[in-house]
């Protein structure tokens, strides 16, 4: 029972190819772009912030899909990158450096270094050990943030300002912030699609199916995976930047291990490895959370069993279900 091909490989047959449905993605982004207009026409007003939040998590889920879906590496510590991004943003704003063009490079470098170091260690293992180690590293950052007493420690850090672009508050208008996040989401989606379609992406995908064969072909699988891990961590860090600016608050809870589990669920809910599935999954997750939390404070007691049932009875997530419906109507 070698652990190598087991992680996400089994889902390989049912998943659709990354970026294989450009039309679906286009419709999705167009629908998202219409949300502010819909709100002004009478859709519940809190949808604007809800969808903004969902798109922020969609960026993180998208980055996770790059390593989990495309690369077959089940990382259970991905929320750490959101947290690092949020904390770098929060700390720099607290220190009076609100300029986005200053924050983003610092944030991306910090995330890249953390991803490179933890990735180099965790990628030495495979399968279940990789899951456990990424979880442990995520927890490490969580406890580190709790110990940061100068920046709020366990209670978190309230931000008294937001980031600025050339002196202008990026979230001064909620609609403006919505479109900035949407733009970032589309940009990240495009970037990940390009990466996946490139030779690098094909090697990454091939290594998921059969790492030995790819190695024999002459590629350094470990290096390819590490680079993908670093890219993924940087994109997730970007979502942390937006999250800090939306909530105007940063806390260790951003990177609790439950959050990492939720990110995995978003990816699986949408459909592993399809990229647009991650976005759909994040949207569906946050809407479900919103609805259930409105019904009862014990919404997790409903949500947990839903996850279990989903895993036991569906294959390929929402994207897979859509594909099956389409397949049936075609045939």
């Amino acid at each position: 029972m070698s652990a190598a091909p087991t992680t996400a490989g089994a889902a390989g047959s049912t998943q659709s190819r990354p970026g294989s449905r450009p039309l679906l993605a286009l419709v999705l982004f167009a629908a998202l772009a219409l949300v502010p207009a819909a709100v002004s026409l009478g859709v519940p007003a809190h949808w604007l912030s809800l969808v903004t939040r969902a798109m922020i998590f969609a960026i993180a889920a998208l980055s996770l899909d790059l390593i989990l879906g495309v690369g077959g590496l089940v990382s259970f510590g991905h929320a750490a990158f959101i947290g690092i991004g949020a904390y770098v943003t929060g700390i720099m704003i607290t220190e009076g450096r609100t300029e986005t063009l200053l924050i983003l490079p610092v944030l991306l470098v910090v995330c890249a270094i953390f991803a490179a170091v933890t990735g180099a260690v965790s990628l030495r293992t495979r399968g279940v050990a990789f899951i456990m180690i990424t979880l442990a590293f995520g927890q490490m950052v969580f406890f580190l943030a709790q110990a940061l007493s100068a920046y709020g420690g366990d209670d978190g850090l309230t931000l008294y300002a937001r980031s600025t672009i050339a002196g202008l508050d990026i979230a001064a208008s909620r609609t403006g912030f919505f479109y900035i996040v949407l733009g970032a989401l589309i940009g990240c989606y495009g970037l990940v699609c390009i990466i996946v379609a490139s030779r690098f992406g094909r090697v990454l995908r091939a290594a998921r199916e059969n790492a030995t064969r790819v190695t024999v072909t002459g590629y350094d699988v470990g290096r390819v995976r590490l680079i993908a891990y670093v890219i993924s961590g940087m994109i997730a860090g970007l979502s942390g930047f937006f999250l800090a600016n939306q909530t105007e608050f940063v806390s260790p809870a951003f990177m609790s291990w439950q959050r990492s589990g939720e990110l995995i669920f978003m990816v699986v809910l949408g459909g592993v490895g399809s990229l647009h599935g991650a976005i759909i999954g994040a949207l569906a997750f946050l809407f479900a959370e919103d609805v259930l939390a409105g019904i009862t404070e014990h919404w997790k007691a409903i949500f947990g069993p839903l996850i279990v049932l989903f895993v036991l009875f569906t294959r390929g997530g929402i994207v897979g279900i859509l594909a099956r419906i389409r397949g049936r109507s075609d045939g």
Partner: protein, 308 residues
């Protein structure tokens, strides 16, 4: 740092190590034999503690309450096995992680609904309530000694079962090649049930034993689960000996780090910055140990034989 404080902290570290071993042993057995990663194992620990609260309260006797709590934890564990886990053995690890994650959400919340969100506690049993005098001026609670002793005893029993009995032999065989064991006419499903039930009991036992000295609260299992993961990764996945060594390392490093990191840094830092750095560094210490172990030996310190 003084010698007396060092002795007390070493005992505390042992005690944490023993608790971690009980949880990690079940986790690593279940993983080793069934190739099944059970995140809900930490929840079993939490349920053990909560059931101990209820049954000790009902019966008024710690021993009786402990036994009833163990039985109840076993029933819940078997019910979960029947309803959920059984259908996941053939699935990939991603599905197993997600489904058991869903169970954690349900059970953590369920515990809040049934017992409330406020921390509860179990009184230390009467006959173990005193303390033992180690040397002049050092007293250590008897109950904590009992906990360490009970943990070591269970460890010894486990070693005996795994290394010296027929069931243990099947277990080891199953861990290295389950399909072959099945082909030789062993009812592998039944073996899985036994292993699973045993692992559940161990976690429940750890939770119930910890209930008098820790606060019993929702989410208490999550912390232990992640520490148990570190233990397993350090010790080598699927290996009971590895889990034992790993648990002691993690227990001791964590406890000693938390109590002495400050003093150590004070040697070359000012007091306030030593306190701040010490707090951050000591909470990261076990993860650093894990990273170093993995860097040197990716398969862990004492990997199970016959696994690839």
């Amino acid at each position: 740092m003084t010698t007396s404080l060092l002795i007390v902290q070493i005992l505390n570290g042992l005690q944490l190590g023993v608790l971690l071993f009980l949880v990690a042993a079940g986790l690593t057995l279940v993983f080793g034999v069934m190739d099944f990663i059970n995140l809900a194992h930490g929840v079993q620990y939490m349920l053990g503690a909560y059931l101990a609260v209820t049954f000790v309260g009902l019966t008024g006797s710690f021993v009786l309450g402990l036994l009833l709590a163990l039985a109840a934890a076993l029933v819940i564990g078997l019910a979960l096995e029947f309803l959920v886990f059984r259908h996941l053995y053939e699935r990939d690890h991603l599905d197993q992680v997600l489904a058991t994650f869903g169970l954690i959400l349900l059970l953590n919340q369920g515990v809040k609904i049934v017992w409330g969100a406020a921390p509860l506690s179990v009184p230390v049993p009467e006959f173990l309530s005193g303390s033992v005098r180690l040397m002049d001026g050092i007293l250590y609670p008897t109950y904590r000694f009992a906990l360490i002793g009970a943990g070591l005893a269970v460890g010894g029993l486990l070693w005996f079962i795994v290394e010296r009995t027929r069931t243990g032999m099947l277990l080891r065989a199953g861990a290295s090649n389950a399909p072959m064991v099945s082909a030789l006419g062993v009812d592998i499903r039944k073996l899985f049930m036994v292993v699973f039930a045993f692992g559940t009991m161990l976690a429940g036992f750890a939770g119930a034993m910890a209930a008098p000295i820790l606060s019993v609260e929702p989410g208490m299992g999550d912390t232990v689960l992640i520490l148990a993961f570190v233990v397993i990764v350090v010790g080598g996945i699927g290996s009971i000996r590895g889990a034992f060594v790993g648990a002691l390392i993690v227990g001791l490093v964590d406890t000693l780090g938390r109590s002495f990191m400050n003093d150590l840094l004070r040697l070359f830092m000012s007091a306030p910055s030593a306190r701040a750095t010490g707090a951050a560094l000591s909470s990261m210490l076990i993860y650093l140990v894990m990273a170093i172990v993995l860097f040197v030996r990716p398969e862990g310190l004492l990997p199970a034989k016959g696994r690839t």
